[in-house]
């Protein structure tokens, strides 16, 4: 209960931090919104020339794009610190989080909030309701699936960032793996060869970040919803386990004094 209150307080502080420079935050929101829409132009051009992509049409891609935008947006807005875990570990900054009376992961994740995430969230609604042709009645299911996808993304990024516990020089590699995750989620994955799909459903779960939730919305079923929720739970547990395992290898950066 105390941890939950602490997390809510951190969230409030992050939002307050964004309000310090409102114009910069608003700029990031607007630019990310525009960025997503401009990027989708490529698919508009594609479907102007071709009728289908392995059975998927423009509206299906828009649905998937919206899920990607929502899941990344939610993740970076609520847990913007996820992309900086590796840097914190390498700098010895983990000391500051270890000195707090709760597990270090929540404070690491909530170390910052990215305003651009709000632009992602807003663009998701445009993708779903306008470009994707989905009805408002479908929104609860779509939001539930996209939010579960956000949890999978956050968990995957944590696992990637933990790589530096074992390979301290892998900072740049962590960034590239994050980019790979982002990139793979932006494309429909059903045309991929079987071995690639197996990887995307297991060790590098990009399929659960966009393709599976989109399929659950396209063909709603109780089993599909449960599968997505289970994936969110399992990958979260795995991320925590990997982090805890890596933490055992962590050596202090002698930054305890900064806690004072």
């Amino acid at each position: 209960m105390n941890t939950l209150r602490y997390v809510i307080e951190l969230l409030r502080l992050n939002v307050d931090a964004l309000r310090v420079r409102p114009l910069r935050a608003l700029g990031a929101v607007v630019m990310m919104f525009g960025n997503n829409l401009v990027f989708f132009l490529i698919w508009v051009i594609f479907f102007g020339r071709f009728s289908t992509l392995g059975g998927w049409g423009e509206q299906d891609i828009a649905l998937m794009f919206g899920i990607v935008a929502w899941s990344f947006g939610l993740a970076v807005f609520l847990a913007g610190g996820m992309r900086y875990i590796a840097q914190t570990i390498v700098d010895g900054g983990l000391d500051l989080h270890l000195g707090r009376p709760c597990h270090p992961l929540p404070t690491l994740l909530l170390a910052r909030s990215e305003a651009s995430g709000l632009g992602d969230l807003a663009s998701a609604l445009v993708f779903w309701l306008w470009l994707g042709g989905r009805s408002p009645a479908e929104l609860p299911l779509i939001v539930l699936m996209a939010s579960a996808a956000a949890v999978v993304i956050c968990a995957t990024v944590i696992a990637i960032q933990c790589l530096v516990f074992w390979v301290p020089t892998a900072l740049a590699l962590c960034e590239e793996l994050f980019n790979t995750l982002m990139l793979v989620t932006c494309y429909p994955q059903h045309p991929f060869a079987l071995p690639v799909r197996i990887v995307l459903f297991t060790v590098f779960p990009a399929a659960f970040a966009a393709f599976v939730p989109a399929e659950v919305v396209r063909h709603p079923s109780g089993g599909g919803v449960l599968l997505m929720l289970a994936a969110a739970l399992i990958y979260s547990a795995l991320a925590v386990a990997i982090f805890d395992r890596g933490l055992r290898r962590y050596r202090s950066g002698n930054r305890w004094l900064e806690l004072r």
Binding site: R21, R24, G27, A28, V30, M31, M32, G34, N35, V38, F39, L41, I42, I45, F46, G48, R49, F50, S51, T52, L53, G54, S116, V167, T169, A170, L171, A172, L173, E175, E176, L177, N179, T180, L183, V184, Y187, P188, H190, P191, F192, A193, V196
Partner: protein, 264 residues
């Protein structure tokens, strides 16, 4: 006088080259990502009914080799504007202004060295991946030197844009949001994923007359049987080089003037 400046520029170029050589993990990550991108698009082109095209119809193999070139340029260029943004936000740019070489010129020289190394490494990765996926050698292999020359010009254009994007932080405090939009315009109007020849007429004309086409479509089109003139292609790139070069010079001077007046 000129000799000293050229020596300093070469030293910056060499520094960039050496820095790139040391970033082994980054190269590994980028190589994997580059290979993944090509594999994704090979799967997507396989699932695409290309026979639906009317008029100019490329093969799947041509489309993948085209993509291998455009993605090669995008990967090599990266997001270098962040270095200038960080220099501005941290105030480190002030000490750089004290050096006898203009900051913009020194940065471009360092980036060029860095880029040259990445170009060589990523060319091998892209060539191997595209050959493996398509099972075919690149179309028009005799045009390879032209592709390299055109890609080098394209990268110079992109680096000049990135320098200006980095300088945006002097006015807005950040460069990222402006870069996102510029990058997506590059992807769309540059023809990153498929040639501009597949675009609707109006959009194609707009894209072809934008600088973005000189950055991606121009070098990529050299592997296509599109009937486009090679001389016109290089002339377009040189024209944009002159325009963007003048813009970069103007922006650099404005940044220096502002920093000298108000500080970093």
């Amino acid at each position: 006088m000129w000799r000293r400046e050229l020596q300093a520029l070469f030293a910056c170029w060499r520094l960039g080259w050496d820095q790139a050589r040391e970033q082994r993990m980054a190269v590994l990550g980028q190589s994997v990502l580059y290979g993944v991108v090509l594999a994704i698009f090979w799967a997507l082109w396989t699932a695409t009914p290309i026979h639906e095209l009317q008029g100019w119809t490329p093969t799947r193999e041509e489309l993948l080799w085209y993509l291998a070139i455009t993605e090669w340029i995008v990967f090599v260029a990266g997001a270098r504007y962040r270095q200038v943004e960080a220099e501005i936000t941290s105030g480190a740019i002030e000490s750089a202004l004290l050096r006898p070489l203009p900051h913009g010129l020194a940065t471009l020289a360092r980036w060029s060295g860095n880029t040259a190394w990445y170009m060589a490494v990523m060319a091998v990765v892209g060539m191997a991946a595209a050959w493996l996926l398509t099972g075919h050698a690149p179309p028009h292999p005799l045009r390879a030197p032209l592709v390299v020359l055109s890609a080098a010009l394209a990268l110079l254009l992109i680096l000049m844009c990135q320098l200006q994007l980095g300088y945006v932080a002097v006015w807005f405090g950040v460069s990222g949001p402006v870069f996102w939009i510029w990058q997506k315009l590059l992807f769309v109007f540059g023809g990153l994923q498929f040639p501009l020849l597949l675009y609707p007429d109006l959009l194609r004309r707009v894209a072809e007359n934008s600088p973005f086409a000189a950055m991606l479509f121009a070098p990529g089109s050299l592997v296509l049987d599109s009937g486009a003139g090679i001389v016109g292609l290089f002339a377009g790139q040189l024209l944009w080089l002159a325009i963007l070069g003048a813009m970069t010079l103007a922006v650099s001077r404005a940044v220096t003037a502002r920093l000298v007046r108000t500080g970093g």
